[in-house]
Amino acid sequence: MSLELSKESKKKIEQALGRYPQKQAALLPILHIVQEELGYVPEDAEADIAAIVEIPVVKVREVLLFYSLYLRKPVGRYHLQLCRTISCTLRGHRDILKYVEEKLGIKDGETTADGRFTISTVECLASCETAPMMQLNEKYHDNLTPEKIDEILANLNGKK
């Protein structure tokens, strides 16, 4: 087994398997659990995950490539995902993106050299009433302005 998980994650996987009459149905939840612990889903974990749900490895790979939330490479500790769809674009997404890119010195899709920040642009996050918005790790940040970005980044820089 090259997939080494904490006791807690293993327990969560057991629980996930118990929710469905077929093991494969637990695949998406298991991938979420693995990613939550490791930050991404490493390629050499695919075979172990496939063994847990009793499907061929290629079926795991297929799912990983299909869904945009699964990461196959590590990203920065803070992942800024800026929504780029209609309402956010109408209310200034591009200006916010440019501001964040200049502030962090990286482009959309890149990670800072210290591994702290990654910027991504993503499709609609269903928070159009608070456009322009972004998801920072798990949390939504609403009605973004340059000042708000400054504040958010200053707070993060205070943390490790």
Binding site: R19, P21, Q22, Q24, A25, A26, L27, L28, P29, L31, H32, V53, I55, K59, E62, V63, F66, Y67, S68, L69, Y70, R84, T85, I86, S87, T89, L90, R91, V122, E123, C124, L125, A126, S127, C128, E129, T130, A131, Q135, E138, K139, Y140
Partner: protein
């Protein structure tokens, strides 16, 4: 979240924060489910048919009739699946139900499960809704602890298990058969219909897939009666619905209003009009896939039939408002990029066509467009429309038809001068006669 002077149907629960069991019970919550558990499935379905409740996720199919398609005396287990994949750009209503009225949703699930004889239900929630999923899970845990869910639902001999299943970032999984594939642990490739999910759905068993908002209305219907709900709405659509309003308005928000509220009222009375005192240029009335409307069309009533009559659609009732300074080619480019990104890749017309449309619009935006691009765009969309397994292809084609038909000058100006059109847009008006 706001509503009209009547106070709405679900808005009070949202305002009081009915993700908390005690709050919901204090407002009469779970009384309807208690009553329903003593009814037969036929009686429940009849009441819901009487209410004229139609699916509020976009398709608008009669909820009661859908439930009646479940085979009687099925030897296989029956599943109830709640579609909380909310992904149509411009739509953000279900999040309010999930985070602020989760117990109305859970009660609706109990009633719907009893109506179709399901003992297991899954809520498929979009993966990005991490916090909403957490809140929902807390409400479900509360319900289990209080005996509202589990082996003896509300003290009856009916058992129901309810699970939250997180998606992982794929718009296509809002389509019900793709959702079922995804729930089974596969990539979200839509299935051919028939068989319809009611006959062969999740794990090849009879399955009903309903939207969050639809199910959240069910307790009120059973509590106050189908006729009461029907009377609140129009002839064909019972009750209220949520309108998500975003874009260049002063008060972007969710508004719970009667079916058939005029679009003008929604934009100017409820959402506070166009911001910075600007003029209106265009409105997308029902989520990104619905064909765009021009300012002279906004007296339309926001119901399924009225919008269909003027060549658009109500869809998910996600209203996106654009002011006079909006570059519409850019809006269509962003829309087409979305559909290209989200095409699942199963059907060639959609997989290839959405990419061609995005590429072509990028070229026009760069100022390298040619006059024939305008018609090419239309032709590509025509090649996708109706030629795919699921409606994503149509959803990608319809905005192209709308924008090119109604604002042709914008696209021709880009082809000629590489910039948006100045002045009036008259070609569509002339062609309409």
């Amino acid at each position: 979240m706001a509503t009209d002077s009547t106070g709405g149907v679900l808005t009070p629960f949202i305002h009081k924060e009915c993700q908390k069991l005690k709050t919901y019970q204090a407002m009469g919550g779970y009384e309807a489910a208690r009553k329903t558990l003593a009814m037969t499935p036929e009686q429940i379905i009849e009441e819901v048919i009487k209410s004229n409740l139609r699916g509020l996720g976009g398709a608008g199919f009669s909820t009661g009739r859908k439930w009646s398609f479940i085979p009687k005396n099925s030897p296989k287990p029956i599943y109830l699946v709640i579609n909380a994949d909310e992904s149509e750009p411009g739509t953000f209503k279900d999040r309010y139900v999930i985070t602020k009225a989760a117990h109305a949703l859970i009660e609706g699930i109990i009633i719907a499960a009893k109506a179709i004889n399901a003992h297991t239900s899954y809520i498929y929630i979009r993966g990005e809704y991490v916090e909403p999923a957490r809140i929902l899970q807390q409400s479900i845990d509360e319900a289990y602890k209080a005996g509202v869910l589990g082996k003896k639902v509300l003290g009856s001999d009916y058992s129901l298990d309810l699970y939250v299943h997180r998606g992982a970032g794929a718009y296509i999984c809002g389509e019900e058969t793709a959702l079922l594939e995804s729930l089974e642990g596969k990539r979200g490739w839509p299935r051919m219909k028939p068989p319809f999910p009611a006959i062969e759905g999740l794990f090849r068993c009879p399955t009903i897939v309903n939207n969050v908002e639809t199910i959240a209305y069910v307790p009120s219907i059973l509590g106050k009666g189908g006729e009461w709900f029907a009377k609140l709405g129009t002839e064909r659509n019972g009750g209220y619905r949520f309108y998500s309003v975003s874009g260049h308005v002063n008060k972007p928000d969710v508004y719970e209003l009667p079916h058939g509220t005029p679009l003008r009222e929604i934009i100017y009375n409820y959402a506070g009009g166009i911001r910075n005192g600007k003029k209106l240029k265009a409105v997308i009335p029902g989520g990104s896939s619905s064909p765009v409307l021009r300012p002279e069309e906004i007296d339309v009533k926001m119901d399924v039939d009225s919008l269909a009559a003027i060549g658009s659609m109500l869809g998910s009732a996600g209203v996106i408002v654009m002011d006079e300074d909006t570059d519409l080619l850019d809006v269509l480019l962003v829309t087409s990029r979305f559909y290209h990104h989200e095409s699942c890749g199963q059907c060639s017309p959609c997989r290839e066509g959405t990419g061609w449309m995005e590429k072509l619009l990028h070229r026009m935006k760069r100022g390298e467009g040619r006059m024939e691009d305008v018609n090419n765009l239309y032709d590509i969309a025509s090649g996708i429309m109706g030629n795919t397994i699921c409606p994503l292809g149509d959803a990608a084609a319809m905005p192209v038809f709308g924008f090119v038909k109604k604002f042709r000058e914008e696209f021709e100006s880009y082809a000629k001068y590489g910039k948006p059109h100045q002045g009036e847009y008259t070609s569509w008006l002339a062609g309409r006669k």
